[in-house]
Amino acid sequence: MEKKLFTELEISKEVKKAVNDLGFEEATAIQTLTIPLIMSGKDVIGHSQTGTGKTAAFGIPAVELVDVKDKKNVQVLIVCPTRELAVQACEEIRKFAKYKEGVNTVPVYGGQPIDRQIKSLKYGGNIVVGTPGRLMDLMRRKILKLGNVKMIVLDEADEMLNMGFKEDVETILTEIPENRQTILFSATMSKEIMRITKQFLTDPELVQIAHQQLSVPTIEQYYFEVPRGRKVDALCNALDVYDPGKAIVFCNTKKQVEELQSELQARGYMAGGLHGDMRQTSRDQMLRSFKAGKNDILIATDVAARGIDVEDVDIVFNFDLPQDEEYYIHRIGRTARAGKSGKAYTFVAGRNQLRAINQLSKYVGKKILLQAIPSNADIHEVRQSALTKEISGILEKGTDNNKYMKIIEELTKEDYTSLDVALALIKVHLKDIENNNRLSDDLHISYENAERDNRDSGRRRSDRDPSRSDRGKMASFKIDIGRNDGAAANIILSAVTRATGLPGTMVGRIEINDEYSYFDLPEAEASLVMDKMKNLKVRNVVTNSEMVSSKNSKDSNRGRRPSSSKPSRAKSTGPRKRR
């Protein structure tokens, strides 16, 4: 479909400026269609998945709709199924309202003291974003008065019904004046959703983003789970180990392109940026130099990368998760051109993004596999093998080496053998990576997850980490939640780490049975487990854990590294030279 630039949309200059600050150029499909409809006052049903930029689709009109002179009354109410979504939507809306003085967005959700939220509501919020339960609570307390609400947005309505908020949502809808505008977003259009739209929406327009199914069979798709703030480090490690001849790194905003460009350049990579604010001549120049291989890394926004045709891109990195599923297809389609194969890696930070990856998987009809971020050891290995190759090459040629003989002679004079000298030289050569320990072992969890996720059953974690051998005796703990209650290895792992505060790497084998599950931890942590996992709520089940046996660490040490963590050697031409 025809997408519009934000500058082409009929929105205020304040919001345009804020959008520009955020670095967005083009509105996504859902934004292009929905924003004008909502701005015209229509009720809208948005049938779209997450990760399509729908927060802006309702957030921008919400900001525009607010009468900034009325600071006291709630004018827009946004209802989200989860706390995370509410916080995220609120943060985004605040960004759009950056230059609109008088727009005050207040998030309200459970799990935080209600007093604080009451205080901020009393201070005045004309846009309120919240979860159903907390909204109801505030309405009962007469803190949240909805008599002046002009627009209500139900975000991820299907999710809210799935979570049992049906009655709450209906109650909230009935508490709002009937002449309001109602916007409903839902990924599915179940009978129940249709009933709600029939009952509560007036003559709504349906906006449906058709799925553009493109086949991407020759592209291997992976994602990295990266802790927030560590994406650049992870990217550098991946670049070093995978050593692509050409790679495109996609970012969502111009600002991010610029930041990443200077960051990579500072670290010695030949990286160039491409975005819509650059002059055409600079763009052409950049592209030429990428094609010619002068820059082997191109960092680009979606819009800028459109239409560029470079045949031998080995890897596409989605540094930012694409805003739109279609973008994902376009992005990864930059590799594996002309019948070649290619790889795509997407950086994922946080739970919401994990959800989005799952949806993308469904959208492309192919599993996007979790991949371990290449470690420093991997880089070291790659460099070592390249150095070996280089040295052998020089030795084979055997010419013109005599001029270096003087150095050797000098050194051997001082009682060093030539072997000592060779060792020292290799150390000098490989040292920088050891000194430059960018990714420490806190990312190790990714390896474990990678293996767990990619294994067929996904239910058993084997004890494989050699580093566990020094943790002493491991013990088995039984927790009274099983498959029948929806337990899975990742759920147990997160429950254990959340409750005890121990890192995931300490958790050994996890076994899920119908009624019970088992997990291994060092025996020394038994009292911590007893203490912290008493009456622990896991998937809405109150659970208890007990130690059932102890064993020697040796037994639990059938060490094996996940194969996925090995660097790809398919076209190893040696290490990337820092230039």
Partner: protein
């Protein structure tokens, strides 16, 4: 949020009549059954009908109050058992139980019902009865949870069909 549970007094008969009518409208909307349809109901008529409920020998109305607003009630009347010759004689009959949508799922009905039960026990009355519609699953579930079970079926035939 503080919820106060108490018995309603005769001075609140208009307020209670209004809320009672709200309950009837809710019944009308949710039952989707012509049997429970009505044109208009007047508050003053309802006031008259409720008169007996403020007489402790004949019934009671218990209410839940939040910030001075009555958000839920149960209206109970003491009447003879449907089988006149039965040795049971008088029973308590919940003719209306209603909680405003915003205040549901807070356990209000449970508290109100307990007050009614206590009141009847003191009077030596053994049974407390009520009717719900078969298709009203949420109501059926919640009365079941409070220890009620169905003991007779009321049948009807639509003679117009």
């Amino acid at each position: 949020m503080e919820i106060i549970y108490r018995t309603a007094g005769i001075d609140e008969s208009y307020k209670m009549a209004e809320l009672y009518n709200e309950f009837l409208y809710d019944l009308k909307d949710s039952s989707k059954d012509i049997y429970f349809d009505f044109e208009n109901i007047s508050v003053s008529d309802r006031v008259k009908l409720l008169e007996d409920r403020f007489n402790a020998d004949k019934g009671m109305i218990v209410v839940a109050e939040v910030n001075g607003e009555i958000v839920g009630f149960i209206s109970m009347t003491i009447m003879s058992c449907f089988m006149i010759v039965s040795s049971v004689k008088n029973i308590g009959y919940i003719e209306a139980g209603y909680v405003k949508p915003l205040y549901r799922k807070l356990g209000i009905t449970k508290k109100l019902e307990a007050m009614v039960v206590e009141f009847l026990k003191e009077k030596g009355i053994r049974y407390l009865e009520l009717f719900t519609l078969l298709n009203n699953e949420p109501a059926n579930e919640s009365w079941k949870k409070l220890g009620y079970s169905p003991f007779r079926l009321q049948w009807r035939k639509d003679l117009n069909e």
